[in-house]
Symmetry: C2
Subunit: 563 residues, 2 copies
């Protein structure tokens, strides 16, 4: 039986209860969003006392299934004003699950308002003051925690951006090397954590046990099959060799690489920021490709990026960061991008949102394309919380408001990710309609990318499949999306009760429906299921396409939705 | 036949057409909102090229009816993201109507982007460059325009806040003395005007003619009756004697005077900022009470406030400004408040929104209660457009976002006005449900102010009645709200076609329905029909009431709405 840990920061109280029987197949996103749906008033202020912050390892987390221990972090988002699930790798999902934890729910606002920590162990849980952590970056925070609690702790932390309750603040999870560089990046969940006065969750792994399932033999058999599929996949080999940076060339080639504030889909200097360049620097500087963010991953898409002196700078330098801070800002230098990434990781701010924000700032005199030095300075302002920094830390939509900019690459307040909707129109439908706001991980649709037809059904299906993967703890880079029959065969021996493949799919569908309903009650009408206007009027080179999916088709994604 | 003037700033073209036959009874808000409903895509960006800015004199404007020449200004709002009508006095409504103009529609964005003006005359209309006006305050802008076009022009202008496209920027209309001190204050319509590159509309009154109606004799008879009601009303006498400042004592007594960032409904130092004090200073300094913002007004609620040296400072110093910048900020000095008001008028920023914004800023270290000097400095930052100023100029909701504040006195992004919803619960229902966002002029309900019952029907009725008044050009201080039979008797001889009283009411209802529908298509769901959370949890002294109207009752206002 998995347990649920409720931490009430106002009262300093912790409650451990069993997850209910009907949650037997629920983990990750499905579990977290169900808790929010049932327990958070949708109209509450995201930074107020009635919001909850939920951490839920995927259902498969903590088992010997590789690449399957991701964790969902969820709350009402200060960025979108709607429900938010941000999915993260690193070690927290695995170890929490191996301690028997199905969900950690943070509620209330600490009366002291800042710098508490929660220490979670096999049988204990405790709220502690931690004034010494106040204002520290994620890296120093984690170093301090390790000195206090031991080198082997797993950490969940926020940087100063989260403490300042910024709407683009992240939550950092320590990786396989104990570094706080895997981020629940999107939707400002770090701001929610900060609003509660929680700086860190420290997980003591002592007593953690591999989850072998209700029927260990059958489960081990099913895992073998799963692992074989994963290991034999060409995709796995591609990610391991190139990291996510392999997408720079792919996106450039299909014209979907956001360039110079979303005015082009191809970048003339892409060879200076692509996977080849990353691999060259990794070899020269004793960095690493094929790094695993969590123990036992077979995909290993992460990397370790060192500076010219060979000192650790970031891990990993990912495609989304490279694209949004490189081509999108016309910064053609991986060292500068890595400096920006390091700072974002340390301050705890979303690199996607920040890249988009600096992009629109080129419409003011505060920033111009290609000015890497200034970009780094502006990120430092975010970390310091100057007035300008606080504006930028709210992301692209608020920054646009403040500076009177109307060409904003965002949906429902959240910036588009590093995949151009005009060149991947099916993904554009997901950007527009996902309850999560514009999010490339909410249901990527690559079919017929330049056609305007047929994407409503594809997007709906992709969004449901993603919810399933996010709920099971599966990394999207497993490439397993529609294998509900395989998932069912894994879930049965793990939980002791076998679902049908249709029940697996329906778990995804029902979760998506709850997210949608939460947003509607929060006041987000379907009129917000739209891409930014400029994408319908500005043709994007090199394909010279506008986003022309009919609005009726956008409305069909949920309009045709089975209740 | 009234005409419609379409000004396309992108093309520099002007089109004059007759208003259609079916607009015969439509003026002001009904006409403006219908135009927006039909011609603006609700999902467009408020500062983008597809938004329209409409000026529409009320139906009675330009006739000899006193206190009946108000004008509606309307657009999609950058503050609320929904449709917006802001109703304004001064001389523009009267003179436009006397030139035969039913509506001026501004479209497109000037290619030069800033400081154009439109010169409107009896038979001519012209777009002109006006680079010399760029960055000027409203007062200097109008002085410059008078030098160029003559002392008797009527002006519609924006200050630097509008040019900077701030979401709380106003549009200033010159008053009976040619001063730009009557403002279409709410919803950031000045930002829309600025986004189009339009600094000023100059109306040349030459050839303007009193509108005598299709049946002048019958119309004059009906006007006599209307005027008699108005002149014999006790309310009229109250407003003329005290100005709107008379409400300071009234609000204090009923516990509805926003004090210290909406933490009290009564102000211990109210005697230093009330009407008695205003009258004393007016007498001492050769100011004026009983000032008429438009020619021929019998209510004359405005005033002229001079500084201690007897120099003109503002006209008028109104209740909303006094309350939001006085008690709400614990500034107990009319001279300081008048300095703040003068600056807001000159820069072109809403005093209500700005007062609420400085109120929440007391949660940061940037401002503290009672610091009048700092308040003036902060308003100067808004006018100058420093980064902090640009934040504050977006109003209370964006400022709250930037500084991570969750206790925000706003609905649909617009700050509450100077009437506490916890002590006037019927008005709270209007604040929550009005398509205009929290707005005291959207349907004031005073009945049973502390009861939680019965307000849905009252608010719906009040909102409809207000639309009627706003459409006819009637000042709300006429106190005439439900007299649809009288209005019908005036409309018949004016237009040549008599409506039934029910048709008058239905015009209001249908306009309100269009506003609501526009917002829904724009993505503003009914979940946004809510007051801020803190009003349900914090009891307000001295009545110690929370806002406890059931959410079902809020939803009934439009839920029971006849389609």
């Amino acid at each position: 039986m998995r347990i649920r840990i409720d931490v009430d920061l106002e009262k300093g109280a912790i409650l451990r209860t069993d997850l209910p029987e009907n949650a037997i197949w629920l983990g990750g996103r499905a579990l977290a969003e169900s808790l929010l749906f049932e327990e958070v008033p949708p109209a509450c202020h995201p930074l107020g006392p009635r919001n909850l912050l939920v951490f839920a390892p995927g259902l498969f987390a903590g088992t010997s299934m590789p690449t399957a221990s991701r964790m969902s972090v969820a709350a009402k988002s200060p960025l979108t004003g709607g429900i938010k699930e941000s999915n993260v790798g690193g070690m927290a999902g695995m170890i929490l699950a191996q301690l028997g934890v199905g969900a950690v729910v943070i509620r209330g606002i600490s009366l002291s308002r800042r710098s508490n920590l929660v220490l979670l162990g096999k049988r204990s849980a405790e709220v502690m003051d931690a004034p010494e952590l106040s204002g520290l970056g994620n890296y120093e925070t984690v170093e301090t925690l390790k000195k206090r609690f031991g080198e082997d702790v797993v950490t969940i932390t926020i940087g100063p951006c989260g403490e300042m309750k910024m709407a683009a603040a992240t939550i950092a999870v320590s990786d396989n090397n104990g570094r706080p560089c895997r981020h629940a990046g999107r939707g400002g969940l770090g701001g929610v954590m900060g609003s509660k006065g929680l700086k860190a969750i420290v997980i003591d792994p002592k007593g953690s046990q591999l989850r072998k399932g209700a029927d260990p033999g059958a489960f081990a058999e099913a895992i073998k099959e799963y692992t074989k599929i994963l290991q034999s996949s060409k995709r796995t080999a591609f990610w391991r060799e190139n990291g996510t940076a392999g997408l720079v060339d792919v996106s450039h080639a299909r014209g979907s690489l956001p360039t110079r504030n979303f005015t082009s889909g191809a970048y003339d200097k892409k060879d200076k920021v692509n996977a080849e360049q990353l691999k060259t620097l990794a070899a020269q500087r004793k960095g690493m490709m094929g790094h695993a963010c969590m123990r036992g991953c077979v995909v290993r898409c992460s990397n370790v990026f060192n500076d010219p002196q060979g000192r650790y700078l970031t891990s990993g330098l990912e495609y989304e960061t490279i694209a949004m801070m490189g081509p999108n800002l016309d910064i053609d230098d991986l060292d500068t991008i890595a400096q920006m990434d390091h700072r974002c990781d340390d301050y705890g701010i979303d690199t996607i949102e920040t890249g988009a924000t600096l992009g629109i700032l080129t419409e003011t005199d505060l920033f111009r394309f290609g000015d890497g030095l200034k970009a780094v300075q502006l990120i430092d302002e975010i970390g310091k919380g100057t007035v300008l920094g606080r504006v930028l830390g709210q992301g692209v939509t608020t920054t646009g408001k403040v500076f009177g900019i109307s060409r904003i690459p965002a949906v429902k307040g959240q910036s588009l990710a590093a995949h151009e909707a005009r060149s991947i129109k099916g993904l554009g439908v997901t950007y527009a309609t996902s309850p999560q706001g514009a999010d490339h991980t909410a249901g990527f649709v690559v079919e017929e990318p330049l056609s305007k037809e047929g994407h409503a059904d594809r997007s709906r299906k992709a969004q449901i499949n993603v919810v399933v993967a996010d709920s099971l703890g599966l990394c999207q880079f497993t490439g397993l999306r529609e294998e509900h029959e395989l998932f069912a065969r894994l879930m049965g021996p793990l939980t002791g009760k076998a679902p049908s493949p249709e029940e697996v799919r329906r778990m995804g569908q029902e979760t998506l429906w709850k997210e949608r309903t939460f947003n509607q009650v929060a006041g987000i009408g379907s009129g917000q299921d739209r891409l930014p206007e400029f994408m319908r009027s500005e043709a994007l080179p090199p394909n010279n396409n506008v986003f022309d999916v009919e609005e009726e088709d956008l409305d069909r994604v949920f309009g045709d939705y089975p209740k």
